[in-house]
């Protein structure tokens, strides 16, 4: 497992840091958004931000699938879980995500609901086969990274006529969210808050490839660099972004070429096209409704759609009015600028989207970076 050390190799990291410092212009600032929660987590976990020049600012984007899942959808799943004979299967970090009134899958499980943590939707299928008398509902969430496995599970369930399996589909799309963020960034009057470039998703891009970002980079004239999740990946991607900004380029570049191709993974893309169709509109926690930004099961698999099999209607849940997640997800505020941060809103009592999962901007700042707050203030 040499991959861990090679991509965290300190001497190379230090060279990249020095190079970034050398190429940063002191006459301007640079605001780069890392779209993915995985990158937010990695930046904090490896302590990368400390080592960047002061005029490079990282903005934490909305790419944490647990964070942006609306509370109403979580409530709907919990409501269903409380019915007899229902088993809800979910990924680990969704278990703690809060619905309304602090409810969560973990809490529902403690109250007797049959909710199981799984690593793969195929585990949910196996549970369905093992318990033919129960209804197994896979609570599917995630960006394009986790979408193909859901597609595969749906295809297998249909093929093998596994009737007691269904999918509560909450898959969302990266390019749609990226377009939304950049559109809003462009409309800002203040130059101080614009985004100068984007660290593009790693695993998502391994599935969809670089191509979907091409028109985004072009239309918004913003450089995008697809980056892996390791220390060297992120540093190299920042250097590439810096060079694009300094030379007024706005291209899509691929730092993570050991995993990402231009065209993406054909089988995964085909499976997604087969299993899903675009939803007209979908609610993103902290952002609001975005059109064409999420997937539902396609007509071909509509009998496997939990939303058609059960009453899963989502009742809108209003965020705390003091919550600044909307501003934070758009890069206009820092977590520590929110009045709720660290007070009413903490990782064990999250109120807003950014505190919900470890990958959220507020949770990452709380867990890894809050020791700096007093010094800065």
């Amino acid at each position: 497992m040499q991959y861990l050390d090679e991509f965290r190799y300190e001497p190379l990291a230090l060279r990249l840091i020095n190079q970034i410092a050398a190429e940063t212009s002191c006459h301007r600032s640079y605001r780069f958004m890392e779209f993915c929660g995985g990158h937010t987590h990695a930046l904090a976990r490896y302590g990368i931000e400390d080592l960047l020049p002061k005029n490079i600012e990282m903005i934490h984007g909305p790419g944490c699938p647990v964070c942006v899942l609306s509370a109403g959808r979580i409530d709907a799943a919990i409501r269903l879980a409380k019915q007899d004979n229902i088993v809800i299967c979910a990924y680990g970090d969704l278990m703690r995500a809060p619905g309304s009134r602090g409810n969560s899958l973990l809490r529902a499980r403690a109250s007797g609901a049959d909710i199981r943590m799984i690593y793969s939707p195929l585990d949910a299928l196996k549970i369905a086969m093992d318990y033919p008398d129960k209804e197994i509902v896979f609570f599917a969430i995630g960006f394009e990274t986790t979408t193909p496995p859901t597609a595969l599970a749906v295809q297998i369930a249909q093929r093998d006529r596994i009737k007691n399996f269904s999918v509560f589909c909450n898959h969302v799309l990266t390019p749609a969210a990226m377009r939304h963020i950049l559109t809003e960034s462009q409309s800002l009057a203040s130059q101080r808050l614009t985004i100068d470039g984007i660290v593009g998703p790693a695993h998502v891009s391994a599935v969809i490839g670089c191509k979907p970002y091409q028109e985004i980079a072009k239309n918004f004239t913003k450089p995008i660099v697809i980056a892996g999740f390791e220390t060297l990946d992120i540093l190299q991607a920042l250097l590439m972004l810096l060079r694009q900004v300094n030379t007024q380029r706005a291209d899509i570049e691929n730092q993570y070429d050991r995993a990402v191709t231009d065209q993406g993974n054909y089988s995964a893309i085909d499976a997604m096209a087969d299993a899903f169709e675009l939803r007209e509109s979908f609610e993103w926690r902290g952002i609001g409704h975005l059109s064409n930004s999420a997937l539902g099961l396609s007509k071909k698999y509509c009998t496997l759609d939990s939303e058609k099999r059960f009453d899963m209607s989502a009742v809108p849940v209003l965020d705390n009015p003091a919550c600044e997640c909307g501003q934070i997800l758009r890069g206009r505020k820092k977590p520590q600028e929110c009045k709720l941060f660290g007070n009413a809103c903490r990782p064990d009592t999250p109120l807003g989207a950014c505190m919900v999962s470890a990958e959220g901007a507020c949770a990452a700042h709380w867990a890894y970076g809050r020791f700096r707050d007093e010094v800065r203030a």
Binding site: Y91, G92, D123, G142, P347, D348, G369, F371
Partner: protein
């Protein structure tokens, strides 16, 4: 375990725990005499009284109790029995005491194969024997199928403190060194590797071990310079350091580069989405020691088989917010926070 009636032998090959094994009658007496007496075999237990009576040296005693639940019951490197004995031995030893006696209480689930119970009991006997400790009293209860997870064990232990050294978190002062006895996260990953829903191929084995010899060695070398010791079990190294920081009103700065971790364990944590700093250990030791004695203590630890990979991983610092900070491999800084809720894997 006071019943002396011997009945026909029980089926230790195909038999299972039945409700009658906890009913106080002859079935229970047979279970105890066939499984626990031979496994724990010592003079005090075999007196078969409702209590064990023993003399101790005059002086201070250390007393600790712990309950053990683990799934699966058997894992690479040990089983619930070895955890139950070594865990309580360690709790006693961490106070500077020499562990002497243990009690063992069992909650058995109806249907548990008797051969599994026998293996667990034998392991406990072996662990106790090799640590020079006797299991001298105990209890057995049986619950209906589905009301427990095979077997739950509670052990309570007693030990004598034969020195004048006081170990306590509130003695930690800024500048003190933090020594870690070896590689982290082995136990938690070994357990996860055998969970029904994961089951990945690995050679990782639990680090579970009795630490009392290593602890005595450290106290002999470090004497009054040893401030406190902890075994970073549930919640891992991160939780143990946070607990120490809060109890002593100081902070810690530790170096990521210095934290020993096995390559396979690091890789497993990476693909499971877990941070090894929060993953459980069962045979590791954190020693906080005055800087003057740190080198000697480190040398002594490395001379012991359970401390070969010991490292000075950081220092105590003045910090009004009691943060545990880490200097990352590339020289950045971050907090190592309290674990919030249970450890959950990340999805991507």
């Amino acid at each position: 375990m006071s019943n002396t009636h011997r009945r026909s032998k029980i089926d230790l090959i195909d038999g299972v725990v039945e409700l009658s094994h906890g009913a106080g009658g002859s079935a229970m007496a047979t279970l105890i005499s066939e499984i626990f007496y031979p496994a724990f075999n010592n003079d005090l237990l075999l007196q078969q009284n409702d209590q064990a009576i023993f003399n101790v040296d005059a002086g201070r005693l250390a007393f600790a109790t712990d309950s053990f639940i683990v799934s699966p019951l058997f894992f690479p490197g040990g089983n619930i029995g070895s955890l139950a004995v070594n865990g309580t031995i360690n709790d006693i030893a961490l106070g500077g005491a020499t562990p002497l006696y243990l009690s063992a209480s069992f909650i058995l689930e109806e249907g548990l194969p008797l051969k599994n119970l026998l293996t667990i009991a034998k392991t406990m006997g072996t662990c106790a024997h090799s640590a020079g400790v006797k299991i001298i009293t105990g209890d057995t209860k049986v619950v209906e199928r589905g009301k427990a997870d095979g077997v739950f064990i509670t052990t309570t232990g007693i030990g004598v403190i034969r020195n004048q050294i006081v170990l306590s978190a509130n003695q930690i002062a800024p500048g003190d060194c933090v020594i870690l006895s070896g590689e982290i996260a082995d136990h938690g990953v070994a357990i996860l590797s055998k969970r029904e829903n994961l089951n990945f191929e690995t050679n990782i084995i639990s680090d579970q071990a009795a630490l009392h010899e290593l602890i005595q060695l450290i106290l002999e070398v470090g004497e009054d310079n040893i401030r406190v010791m902890r075994d970073p079990t549930r919640g891992g190294l991160a939780s143990a350091l946070n607990e120490l920081a809060e109890k002593s009103d100081i902070g810690f700065v530790i170096n990521e580069n210095k934290i020993p971790i096995n390559h396979s364990v690091a890789a497993a944590c990476e693909f499971l989405g877990l941070d090894p700093l929060y993953v459980a250990n069962e045979g590791k030791l954190i020693v906080v020691v005055a800087p003057a004695a740190a080198a000697d203590v480190l040398g002594a630890m490395r001379s012991h088989s359970l401390g070969r990979q010991a490292e000075i991983i950081g220092v105590a610092t003045e910090d009004s917010r009691f943060f545990v900070q880490m200097v990352t491999r590339i020289g950045g800084r971050r907090i190592i926070d309290h674990l919030s809720g249970e450890l959950l894997p990340r999805i991507c």
